[in-house]
Symmetry: C2
Subunit: 246 residues, 2 copies
DNA sequence: CGCTGCGTTGAGACTACTCAATATCCGTGG
DNA sequence: CCACGGATATTGAGTAGTCTCAACGCAGCG
């Protein structure tokens, strides 16, 4: 039962990047997950500076990672949706240099570091796939940094929407020419984009005026994918949508 | 002979994060490195979009990674010094989503992906250490994103200087209260900070006025580490300076 | 039915940008 | 050893993008 949920999202992500992973490897990973638990919106799932002894998977809901300066300024580092490992990197890294928080109520499952270690000792193929998984996260960070440094506020907003839409498609939570559920607030987007919430509002309004994107009451709709992609200069290659042996 | 050079820098980095790595593992890594070769300043070491069949180590010189938008805007994603693997992640990722370029003349050595694969098949401990190595890169990316999103130009400049100084200390190319060699141009810093070269100049001037940092003719000197660190809100924890088993 | 949180809009301020001019450094060739 | 040219650094002036503060609208909920 619990596997079924995981297969729907996590396995879709793993299979996308390496379909040659054996069922035995897949089961080695899946069989160690805890029962599901729930985290309320706006609560930390993993605090900054902690030393987790397990990795957390989002089964349902939206979460984010953020880093905080000593004076309280916060930057969102990633947005996570169903099927995302939010802190797979905590296994090699040990200490969390940032926090993970629930943006909406989240259903999660965890897998102990001891199992991760066992995987690295016994299953090189699965280990490489998990390593890749952490590197796709890093690739997204690079795109966010490219956005923060070089894209203006409008392009940056468009780019985030493109990325989220593409990633939701991977796990089957969105499909072309259909609306999708976007339960974030404009303040959430602002924290992710490194601009003020007021300015996010203006940028969203501009996307609406240009008939690229519409968003009301959590229902988001991409009106012109090609033009939005062009505006954002979005190239999905970094999401590693190709399947090749690792 | 060639190992001697590597030990000086790369091994210092690996040992810092896990001194329990066995000599056999270390040698498994070191023995596969190519002879040194040289890349002239401003030349690409690894082009964006390529599919390298080897990983590259900087033996001497300064390099950077950068991503480029289709209209030519560039963002530097990382600055690399002696002892840094610039594209270790190319092994799991296969395709480069960004480029690596020499900022100064660089001496490099490479290790084939085939050897990397062999390591993952036979040496779980070394594999975890290499995985960690790619994740320290990701931790730096997070700090850069935090800088880009939340730190102003002055703080950001100070933070980069703090990071570079700390990393140079790791490999023994800088030490407290002593000047160090900083062969970058202000334009290089601008590309890394996501601000204009003119503004970098003003920020450096301000650090000089505040008697925090002095830089002339490649010789850089941190005048007041504590105050610079405070200004930058630099917390070196993300560089993983602690040694614990992986 | 009145909070409270979120979204929207306007006005003025500030940070960092661009363009442009000048200064300085460094390597090269005479 | 000096003169030159190109790259780099410095400074000034005006501008653009984004910020902050503030007010108001609207919807959901206790």
């Amino acid at each position: 039962m619990r596997q079924t949920i995981l297969i729907d999202y996590l396995i879709r992500q793993l299979a996308l990047r390496d379909s040659s992973l054996l069922p035995a490897s897949r089961d080695l990973l899946l069989s160690a997950f805890s029962a599901v638990s729930v985290v309320k919106a706006d609560h930390d799932i993993v605090p900054q500076g902690s030393r987790p002894d397990r990795c957390t998977l989002i089964v349902a809901g939206w979460a984010c990672r953020y880093a905080e300066l000593s004076d309280g300024r916060r930057q969102t580092l990633a947005v996570h949706v169903s099927g995302d490992f939010v802190d797979l990197h905590s296994f090699p890294l040990k200490r969390m240099d940032h926090a993970v928080a629930a943006l909406t109520d989240c259903t999660i499952q965890t897998i102990p570091h001891t199992r991760m270690r066992y995987i690295t000792e016994t299953d090189p193929h699965l280990t490489r796939v998990l390593w890749l998984h952490t590197l796709v996260d890093a690739a997204m960070l690079r795109q966010w940094l490219l956005s923060a440094g070089q894209r203006n506020a409008l392009e940056r907003t468009a780019h985030l929407l493109c990325e989220l839409f593409s990633r939701l498609q991977i796990v089957g939570l969105a499909s072309p020419n259909r609306p999708f559920d976007l339960p974030l607030t404009q303040a959430d987007l602002a924290a992710a984009l490194g601009i003020s919430a007021v300015h996010v509002n203006r940028m969203i309004a501009q996307l609406r005026t240009r008939e690229l994107f519409h968003w009301h009451a959590r229902e988001a709709r991409i009106l012109d994918w090609e033009r939005l992609r062009e505006l954002a200069k979005f190239d999905p290659a970094y999401l590693i949508l190709t399947d090749e042996p690792r």
